[in-house]
């Protein structure tokens, strides 16, 4: 039976999704690696997989890619799991390629699907912000590593069979070259978009900072708050507290109107609670239309003023 190691940096749905991805490969034995998990968290994991290995937490008690790589490398060398799986998120960028290099394994990144062909790992992954997909295959190797896109596999239900929980060794001879200093608190910001029922989200399609007035004015007509994608914050046009996404806020409005937003998974990752999602984008192939309920393909500079006018008319 194939051994699969899932690496779970922190709490969340990751473990259940990774377990589902692992089990999609057929008869497998799943081991979860965690760092400094308490008993309850370890027990939860044991409901999903055959084995849980609890490695000591990194100094500072937070996830640390250097520490994790140092702990996992000898473990993987000894146990030789067929596949090491991680969720494609920020922590994976900090660990997965480093671990693949240290353990000398081919790595497939950000997979929407993983599979086996002739005993080799294959996958499907998005390119160009989701506008194309690629079928990729790893070359033959003793073991593989892959990161799986969050949401690609529906979370596995906890199995009845309780897995065993064991302790993993601390990395030996570890001299830290990287040290945790502290967490940085997010700025509060002028509005709390996480509480808003209606959001108008603006993306790079707005082109210039001045043009944001179009969006502000539309939001005002709707009684909505303005949210945005990351590039708008990077340019300093709107404050960070308005950014929706995996590196911004998680929002759960009733209605989300995305304007000039391509619909990257990092942006949509911040949108929860299945709101009514409407999109305006001039590119009919923009991935936002795959996620939206309704869309208009067209130029926002024509459509937004018209939309505002119609809303104001309707309100009288």
């Amino acid at each position: 039976m194939r051994e699969i190691l899932i690496v779970v940096p922190g709490p969340g749905d990751e473990a259940a999704e990774l377990t589902a991805a692992a089990r999609s490969l057929g008869e497998v034995r799943v081991t979860a690696a965690v760092f400094g998990a308490d008993e309850e968290a370890a027990a939860d994991l044991a409901g999903l997989c055959e084995r849980v290995v609890v490695f000591p937490a990194a100094p500072g008690g937070v996830f640390d890619g250097e520490w994790a790589a140092a702990a996992l490398t000898p473990w993987i060398a000894a146990e030789q799991p067929f596949l090491v799986l991680l969720a494609h998120g920020n922590d994976a960028l900090d660990l997965a390629p480093l671990l693949a290099a240290r353990t000398d394994r081919p790595m497939l990144s950000d997979c929407l699907e993983i599979g086996l062909r002739d005993g080799r790992l294959v996958g499907v992954r998005p390119l160009h912000g989701g506008k194309v997909r690629a079928r990729v295959a790893a070359v033959e190797a003793a073991g593989y590593l892959a990161t799986v896109r969050p949401g690609a596999y529906p979370a596995a239900a906890a199995a009845a069979a309780a897995g065993q929980v064991v302790e993993g060794p601390a990395p030996t001879g570890f001299s830290p070259r990287r040290e945790f200093v502290g967490a940085v608190a997010a700025e509060a910001g002028e509005v709390d978009i996480t509480q808003a029922e209606v959001l108008v989200a603006v993306g790079r399609g707005i082109e210039e900072e001045e043009n944001l007035d179009l969006i502000r004015s539309l939001a005002e007509a709707l009684g909505a708050e303005v949210a945005c994608t990351r590039p708008i914050v990077d340019k300093g046009w709107l404050e960070k507290s308005r950014q929706v996404g995996t590196s911004g806020r998680t929002v759960k409005p009733k209605v989300y109107l995305a304007i000039g937003v391509s619909g990257s998974f990092q942006h949509l990752g911040g949108l929860k609670g299945s709101p009514f999602l409407a999109a305006i984008n001039q590119d009919p192939a923009a991935p936002i239309f795959a996620a939206a309920d309704v869309g208009i393909v067209g130029d926002l500079f024509d459509l937004v003023p018209l939309l505002e006018e119609k809303i104001r008319e309707r309100r009288g």
Binding site: G65, A100, G236, S247, I311
Partner: protein
């Protein structure tokens, strides 16, 4: 202090129609406009700012062909001291693993004090090269830096971790840092700026120059086929005149509680 910054030229595909070419493994590139990968522009700016503050020597590297030289010119125009085009017929078909091997070989002499890479590339989105480099060079890694301060053999880095949180970490140099967008404000490069560095010689280094055996440059991941994302299940696309579409949208927004 020697800083290497790894850059790549990528197509802007956000507004073009994507067509798969006859090989089925690549895209028709005729309508593409190319530029430095967004994340890499922040990495170059970070390197140049360190140079201005601390007097480092900054070397820009890319793996590619003569078309990719323009991205190195841009890095020079932004203030990098020198650039190397890593190019060879045997590099064709390089995956991120092979790319990282080539880059690592180009950092053999002088050894780096700091390696900066963009955290991901806009086209491939794999986010692998920086981490592979850390593994190959046996250096510590921090991914997704949003702030970077360097001082006598160490760096204090703010970086994004999972859960929308940022951490501060201290790194002992040499180290690899992958850069997230927003770390700084990449400086504007004018056509004149590019022209100024037109005369700077950019050495082209191949496998032999880098001491690489082509047999070691076998990709570990092969792209077999490109295909369009599955259709259907997506948005209802409104039809009719612009006016009709917008009226229908107002109706739908109202129905779902969007007119507060």
């Amino acid at each position: 202090m020697d800083i290497y910054v790894c850059v790549r030229r990528v197509p802007d595909t956000s507004e073009v129609e994507i067509e798969i070419d006859r090989s089925g493994r690549a895209l028709e590139e005729d309508d593409f406009s190319w530029d430095i990968n967004e994340w890499d522009a922040y990495a170059v700016e970070a390197a140049v700012q360190l140079k201005e503050r601390l007097g480092a020597r900054v070397t820009a590297l890319t793996v590619g062909d003569e078309d990719d030289e323009e991205v190195l010119r841009r890095a020079l125009a932004m203030g990098c001291d020198q650039a190397r085009l890593l190019s060879d017929d045997v590099f064709a078909g390089a995956d991120s693993w092979v790319t990282a091997r080539i880059l690592a070989a180009a950092m053999a002499e002088p050894r780096p004090d700091l390696v900066l890479c963009g955290a991901v590339s806009a086209d491939q989105g794999r986010g692998q090269v920086g981490g592979f480099l850390a593994g190959l060079l046996d250096l510590p890694l921090v991914a997704l830096a949003t702030d970077l301060q360097v001082e006598e053999g160490s760096a204090r880095v703010r970086h994004e971790v999972s859960g929308g949180v940022e951490h501060l970490v201290d790194l002992r140099l040499p180290a690899v840092v992958t850069v997230q967008t927003g770390l700084n404000e990449p400086r504007y490069v004018s056509i004149r700026g590019i022209r100024k560095v037109a005369g700077v010689e950019i050495p082209v280094l191949g496998a032999a120059d880098l001491g690489l055996d082509p047999a070691e440059l076998q990709p570990r991941v092969v792209t077999e086929e490109l295909f369009p994302p599955p259709q259907g299940g997506g948005a209802e696309i409104l039809t009719g005149s612009g006016e009709e579409q917008v009226e229908r949208l107002v109706e739908l927004l109202h129905e779902h509680g969007g007119l507060v």
